[in-house]
């Protein structure tokens, strides 16, 4: 039953909010309640999975593979927990930053349906159902992007939706072909039946469709264009939740299918993934190096870091996958927080342009510290979380003798440090140029507190992960072991006796 709640609960609250369409005050409260409830459900689910193994729920009691199975292994459970944390942080942050107009036009219900889609994608054990959750996510995020209707926003939103629909089309084609090959949509069932087909090459070929479809979602090279085209246009709260979660659904899906379904020719498929990982890191970080707008810099860094996660998958060893998972955990927290801090900066100064910013460190040392924690973590400075994330994938790469990708990842690490110091340098260290627009945080003290609460919360999580990495990494390792033993997943869904 716990498996259904992360999907149903936000949907339920979204519907309630739609019933009180004109009451934005109610929206705010319900949104908070829903986000808080999600954390509770997520933690309960996680502890269940952690204590008693993979959890399965057959929706409508239709036995797998005939109905739709919801499955939570450790990876899913981890993702659900982080999603709830990010959802809550964004919900709080929105209270201080989202304008009344957007609130009136369904901002909060959209936030909840977005979370529903994300949770659904993490929990489903059915490949077509995954497609459905992708659609829920896509439409919610599209509307959130376009909400407000400014020209720049719409331009970004159109690019976003077009390219993502291309992904959907390829995904759907792939699903159709898989069904043609194995006659089933249940992922566990697919994993059981596909190794028995006559032409395993076909599977490799189909896997490329999935690689592209999920690759677009994860924003890997050379499929990432929709991300830098759109992420800098919506309000900070929206950018933040997108930055933290959306691409990671793609990465999660890649991890799922390339450890469960497409493992017939890992020499071929995972080498391609590794090559893509290298180019993704490099291209993303170079993109960031060329930008002078905080949100654009951060957006390109998302791409770059997706590369590290995919690198973990491509290396395909227990440590590498654990590193990839750990990287996801670290990245979601840190990246969301950076966007939140970026939003706070623009609240104070009224701009994201580095050229127009400056002097923040002298005036707001605490803000400086709150920026430095995620920024240095992102740049991989020890002992913050980003260092351990980088360390584990690098170690995994060196264990396997993959020197090229390791060299690329380290070089990218240096450039990441470079662009984080660029923001620091321009926005915090440099004296403010005269044309600085705003100079004050406009808003009451309560608003200020609401604004900084999620930032502080996420910064504390980052520090905790960094200084007390053991339990987090331990979980990532266990999740990795589960992924690398697909039989655990298959047996949990289909029952051991089924074969």
């Amino acid at each position: 039953m716990l498996l259904v709640l992360p999907i149903i609960s936000p949907f339920f609250f979204a519907i309630i909010m739609m019933l009180f369409w004109n009451n934005t005050k109610a929206h705010r409260i319900i949104n908070l309640v829903s986000s808080a409830a999600s954390i509770i459900f997520a933690v309960m689910l996680f502890s269940n999975v952690n204590n008693s193994g993979i959890q399965v729920f057959q929706v409508g009691s239709w036995q797998a593979p005939f109905g739709i199975s919801l499955v939570a292994d450790l990876l899913s459970a981890i993702m659900i927990v982080i999603t709830s944390v990010i959802g809550f942080s964004t919900a709080v942050y929105s209270l201080a930053t989202i304008d009344h107009e957007r609130e009136k036009f369904g901002f909060y219900p959209l936030l909840q349906t977005l979370l529903m889609g994300i949770n659904g994608a993490f929990l489903t054990g059915d490949i077509f159902n995954l497609y459905v959750w992708f659609e829920v996510m896509l439409i919610s995020s599209f509307v959130l992007l376009a909400l407000g209707g400014r020209k720049k926003q719409l331009e970004g939103a159109i690019k976003y939706v077009t390219l993502n629909l291309l992904s959907s089309a390829l995904f759907l084609a792939g699903v159709g072909i898989l069904y043609g090959l194995a006659g089933t949509l249940n992922m566990a069932d697919l994993a059981r039946k596909l190794p028995l087909i006559d032409n395993p090459e076909m599977l490799t070929l189909v896997s490329m469709l999935f690689l592209i479809a999920f690759g677009i979602k994860s924003a890997v090279f050379p499929l990432y264009f929709w991300l830098p085209a759109s992420y800098h246009t919506p309000p900070a709260a929206v950018s933040a939740i997108f930055a933290g979660l959306l691409t990671k659904v793609g990465v999660y899906s890649l991890m799922r299918v390339f450890t469960l379904i497409f493992i017939n020719d890992t020499d071929f498929t995972h080498t391609i993934i590794l090559v893509i990982a290298g180019f993704t890191m490099l291209s993303g970080v170079l993109g960031a190096a060329s930008q002078m707008d905080i949100r654009k810099i951060l957006s390109f860094h998302i791409i770059s870091q997706i590369g590290y996660m995919i690198m973990g998958l491509g290396l395909y060893s227990p440590l590498a996958i654990a590193g990839g998972i750990f990287y996801i955990i670290h990245h979601i927290i840190v990246k969301t927080n950076l966007f939140l801090v970026g939003g706070a900066i623009s609240k104070i100064r009224g701009t994201y342009q580095l050229k127009k910013l400056g002097g923040l460190y002298k005036l707001y040392p605490i803000l400086g510290l709150l920026f430095l924690i995620p920024a240095l973590s992102l740049a991989g400075i020890p002992p913050l979380s980003g260092f351990w994330a980088k360390f584990t994938v690098v170690k995994a790469g060196l264990d396997l003798g993959e020197f090229t990708i390791v060299a690329v990842s380290l070089f990218v690490g240096l450039l990441t440090l470079f662009s984080m110091t660029k923001i620091w340098n321009e926005a915090f260290w440099k004296d403010a140029p005269s044309e600085t627009i705003g100079n004050k945080f406009s808003g009451s003290n309560t608003q200020k507190a609401i604004l900084f609460l999620p930032i502080v919360l996420l910064a504390l999580i980052t520090i905790t992960i960094g200084f007390y990495m053991e339990p987090f990494f331990d979980i990532a390792q266990q999740a990795s072991e589960q992924l690398l033993n697909p039989n655990l997943y298959i047996d949990a869904v289909l029952g051991v006796s089924n074969e």
């Binding site: 107009e101 509307v143 006659g183 006559d198 110091t421």
Partner: protein, 766 residues
């Protein structure tokens, strides 16, 4: 030991609060901290010199084998003592030097963090823990160099130092991991016995080079040296502490620490020797053109760092001895001289030696301290610097077969160092009093007390070297070459060649000082090309990386949606093609179709309609053509007995066309934007994409499809699902969750349409 390291971090966290309560008490506490740490470590002196080592370990990340393990032997004790003692002098000094600075609290936080990290670095026994501290020293150095961050130069050079040491740090990380992989553990102390295993491994050369890059960048060896003089933008206490006495020696420490496990090979010894020797001479020469007190000192630091590296490269017992003495001597006198330079700057308002002179009467105490440190630095008896230089010369002389070459290099470099010392330690105090921006006074107690202790220690250690540091050094060497040496350290070795060379060095240095102007004039006439400066390559690399970044980003993220889509199709075709090629022979395709007449007709209609849609010159034609495509597909559904699907398809196609037609009249006039080349490109891409999909489908249908699902749904939809229409039962029961999701999609889309129509944000960006 954990507490000694952690104390600094905890102190830094609570310092701001403490200062708020009482500013003076906070500052005093800051100076007491390193003093306490010094006393703590000094208490281990006897234990260590009796030949013991102390190891402590605390769990941190056991699943990765990373623990907080600390290891105190002669080598780490020496460093810990230097770090805490110089730290004490510097902290005390800072209280007065930074008086009145608005951001002094931040300064103390950074520098305390640095001290703690540096202690952690030299005490760590776990490779990764050491690396963590290593990076922390780089980061704290960044914040300290950029302390005066309203100045652009501070920011630029802070970044430069960070990028160079940080880049080296990343190389080091890779190198250390490779070594750990070879040796099978993270403990540094246990590496020492694995020398053969490690040096014999095929990955040894790459690991050694990576580690050395880390060490060379950190310790400012040629060609990475240029960040160090630039780091003089930092406040003087920082220059004294980080950039001469401690942090820049981290690389040296690392090489010494790794010497037992990685050393002994030609690669290791020769690389270190050559890089050290080149650094020593090259950087010392660069000092000639400088007139800034701190810059001069920075170049002499570089020379010394080169010498220390060279000594490790020589690697003989005597050289290691010289290494240790010189290391201690340098930390004492160079820290002192930097602090003196700061005092002069503080009191007179200038650091330009051409504007300084005759301060001896106004600042007698400072003068005495400066002279003491200078004498040590010049290697004058009876100071510790003398002992150091004697041993350096001796070890260079006995290095066969290049002893002569090495001694010439060493003397040349030391001549420059003598010259620098005269310029820094004597010039400002002697000669005629020159007018300075500020009226000079003797510095306050807090400022001269620290340097005085360091300078006096130089005398004590020199005069009683055989008593005080002999035993410590003997045990230090165990850390460096894994055996105990018994070459006694003493002040006086009699009238020998080394002494003669020492005298010669000083004389030449004095000569150089007086001929300085002539030489600089000659030098100025020679124009050096920019290509000889390593910093040119740094800037070149940085700027070309940035321009490449701009280029690739403009090229890829060019703002054009159809380019983006094209790129995705290209990637699909490429990966699909790659997979096909990798098969080395396609699977069977059944090409013996027997299409019915109706199928042929529908196929032809489909193709024609598609062509017409692409070629259409108006939107209406295009939409109608697409509608025809949809209808044709629906007809195929009917033929294959899927009436439900066909009905849905008909409905959707009809609705789409109607909606489009309604919208079309509100759209601006249709203009063909795409050029001919683009059309050709798109044609090829579309063709290839279609081909790929067709091939895949052909492959699939070549295999008979079996599905238990069909059977199950057929059997159970009425009995359990209570519905006669199987499709409906699938939609609302078997796969109800899908339908719920899709309903949600519709609802959200409705909100979206509503908001797009009604909500016009007033353009503000929030």
């Amino acid at each position: 030991m954990l507490y000694a390291v952690v104390a600094g971090f905890i102190f830094a966290i609570f310092f701001p609060a403490a200062v708020r309560i009482n500013k003076q008490a906070g500052k005093i506490a800051a100076a007491v901290l390193p003093l306490g740490i010094f006393i703590y470590f000094a208490s281990f002196y006897n234990t260590i010199t009796e030949g013991n080592v102390i190891a402590q370990s605390y769990n941190w990340i056991p699943s990765l084998g990373i623990n907080l393990s600390f290891y105190l032997d002669g080598l780490s004790l020496t460093f810990a003592l230097i770090i805490s003692l110089v730290g004490f002098a510097v902290f005390l000094y800072t209280a007065s030097y930074m008086e009145g600075n608005k951001y002094i609290t931040r300064f103390y936080i950074y520098i305390t963090l640095f001290m703690a990290s540096m202690l952690g670095l030299v005490l760590s026994d776990n490779i990764i823990t050491m690396f963590v501290f290593w990076e922390l020293t780089s980061i704290s150095s960044y914040f300290l160099i950029g302390f005066n961050h309203d100045k652009e130069r501070s920011r630029i050079y802070a970044l430069q130092a960070l990028l160079i040491t940080g880049g080296g740090g990343l190389a080091l990380l890779a190198g250390l991991i490779i070594i750990a992989n070879i040796s099978g553990g993270w403990s540094i102390s246990s590496l020492a016995d694995l020398n053969e295993l490690i040096t014999g491994h095929k990955h040894y050369p790459i690991a050694a080079i990576l580690v050395l890059i880390g060490a060379f960048t950190k310790s400012a060896q040629f060609p990475f040296h240029f960040w160090l003089p630039n780091a003089m933008e930092a406040p003087t206490p920082v220059s004294a502490y980080l950039h001469s006495a401690t942090m820049v020696k981290a690389g040296i420490y690392l090489m010494a620490r790794m010497n037992p496990s990685l050393g002994g090979t030609d690669l290791w010894q020769h690389t270190i020797l050559i890089v050290g020797a080149v650094t020593m001479l090259f950087t010392a020469m660069l000092s000639l053109k400088q007139t800034d007190l701190k810059k001069l000192l920075a170049y002499s630091t570089l020379g010394v760092l080169g010498t220390l590296t060279m000594l490790l490269g020589i690697g003989s017992d005597l050289a290691i001895k010289a290494f240790m003495i010189y290391l201690i001597a340098h930390s004492l006198y160079k820290g002192t001289l930097f602090l003196i330079a700061g005092i002069i700057d503080h009191e007179t308002g200038t650091r330009d030696i051409t504007k300084l002179g005759g301060l001896r009467k106004l600042m007698p105490i400072t003068m005495v301290i400066a002279v003491l440190a200078s004498l040590s630095k010049m290697g004058i008896i009876p100071l510790i610097g003398f002992v150091g230089k004697e041993t350096v010369y001796a070890s260079a002389l006995e290095f066969e077969p290049f002893g002569t070459l090495l001694i010439i290099l060493a003397i040349a470099a030391n001549v420059f160092i003598v010259y620098i010392t005269i310029a820094v330690g004597f010039k400002p105090f002697f000669g005629k009093l020159k007018p300075t921006p500020k009226e000079p006074h003797e510095s306050p107690f807090k400022m001269w007390f620290g340097p005085m202790i360091l300078a006096l220690l130089g005398v004590v250690l020199g005069m009683f070297s055989s008593v005080v540091i002999n035993s410590l050094i003997n045990f230090t060497e165990i850390g460096v070459i894994n055996k105990k040496l018994n070459i006694p350290v003493k002040l006086w070795h009699g009238f020998n060649l080394e002494l003669a060379l020492s005298v010669l060095t000083v004389l030449l240095g004095v000569l150089l000082y007086f001929k300085r102007d002539n030489i600089v004039n000659t030098l100025n006439k020679i124009s050096f090309t920019k290509y000889v400066k390593p910093s040119y390559y740094y800037e070149f690399l940085l700027s070309s990386t940035l321009s490449f970044a701009k280029f690739q980003t403009k090229f890829l993220q060019n703002g054009n949606l159809s380019n983006y889509a094209a790129m995705i199709i290209v990637a699909t075709i490429f990966l699909g093609g790659l997979a096909l090629v990798s098969f080395g022979g396609a699977p069977n395709i059944d090409l013996t179709f027997a299409p019915t007449f109706a199928e042929v007709i529908i196929g032809i209609i489909l193709i024609l309609a598609a062509i017409s849609a692409v070629r259409a010159k108006s939107r209406l034609t295009a939409i109608v053509s697409v509608g025809v495509v949809g209808y044709s597909v629906a007809l195929i559904f009917i033929m294959y007995s899927a009436p439900d699907l066909a009905m849905t398809q008909f409905a959707i196609e009809t609705l789409t066309v109607i909606l489009f037609v309604l919208v079309i009249y509100r759209l601006p006039k249709y203009l063909p934007f795409s050029s001919m080349t683009r059309r050709i490109r798109d044609f090829i891409l579309a063709g290839l994409g279609g081909l790929l999909m067709s091939l895949i489908v052909l492959f699939i249908i070549a295999e008979p499809m079996t599905s238990e699902l069909k059977k199950y749904f057929g059997e159970n939809s009425l009995t359990i699902g209570k519905g006669r229409n199987i499709v409906n039962v699938i939609l609302v029961d078997f796969r109800a969750l899908d339908t719920m999701g899709e309903i949600a999609v519709l609802a959200i889309a409705a909100i979206g349409v509503y908001a797009l129509l009604k909500l016009k944000s007033n353009g503000s960006e929030k």
